[in-house]
C-alpha cells in the first residue's frame, strides 16, 4: 500500500495548483477548470482515507466521493451556463473586464 503521506502530498500539490489557477488566471473557463482540480484534490483525500480506514476500508468515503463527483459535474454545467450568459452580454469571459453585477 502506498504510504498515506505520499497521497496527502499529491493532493496538497493539486490543491495548491488549483488554488493558483483560481487566483491568478483571468479567464473564467480556466478558473472553472481550476475549481475542478480543487474538487478532485479533495475527492482524492476522501477516497484515500476511505481505503486506509481499518480493517478493510470504509465505503462512506467512496460514497461521499461519488456525491462530490456528481456535484462537481453539475457545478461545471451551471458555471458554464453563467459564463455563457456573461459572454453574450459582455462579449468576454475575462473576469477583470466584467465589473458590473447587473446588466
Amino acid at each position: 500500500m502506498i504510504p498515506v503521506e505520499y497521497e496527502l502530498i499529491l493532493s496538497t500539490a493539486l490543491f495548491c495548483i488549483g488554488l493558483y489557477g483560481v487566483m491568478v488566471r483571468k479567464n473564467a473557463i480556466i478558473v472553472l477548470m481550476s475549481i475542478e482540480i480543487l474538487l478532485n484534490a479533495a475527492i482524492l483525500n476522501f477516497v484515500a482515507f476511505s481505503s486506509y480506514a481499518p480493517p478493510a476500508g470504509d465505503p462512506a468515503g467512496q460514497v461521499f466521493a461519488l456525491l462530490a463527483i456528481a456535484i462537481a459535474a453539475g457545478e461545471a454545467a451551471i458555471g458554464l451556463a453563467i459564463f455563457l450568459a456573461l459572454y453574450e452580454t459582455h462579449g468576454t469571459t475575462e473576469l477583470d473586464k466584467i465589473r458590473l453585477l447587473r446588466w
Partner: protein, 105 residues
Amino acid sequence: MAVDWQLAAFLILSVLEIGGSIMVVTAKKLVHAVFWLALTLVTIGGIYLLFLSEFLFLIQILVYAGAVPVLFLFGIMLTRRKIMEEVTPGEVLEGPGEAPREGLP
C-alpha cells in the same frame, strides 16, 4: 529486487497529474487547457484504481468524459474566433451576401 509496483504506478500517475494540472493553469490556449484537464482527471481516476475503488474510477471517466466535452465546446466557441471571422480566399471583402439582399421584399 522487490519493486513496489504500486508505488511506481502511484509516482508515475502523480507526476502526470501534477504536470497536467500545471499545464491547465498555465496553458495559453483554452482548448489545450481542457485537454490537460482531461488528462489530469483520467490520471486521478487511475489513483482511485490504486486505492481499490474501481467503481469510482469508472464513474470518474464516465462523468468527466461527458462534462469535459462541454468545456471543450465552450473553449471552441470562445477561441476559434479567428477562422470564423477571417475572409476566405475569393470572398468579396466588403461583405459577401450584400448583393442578393438589396432587393429583398
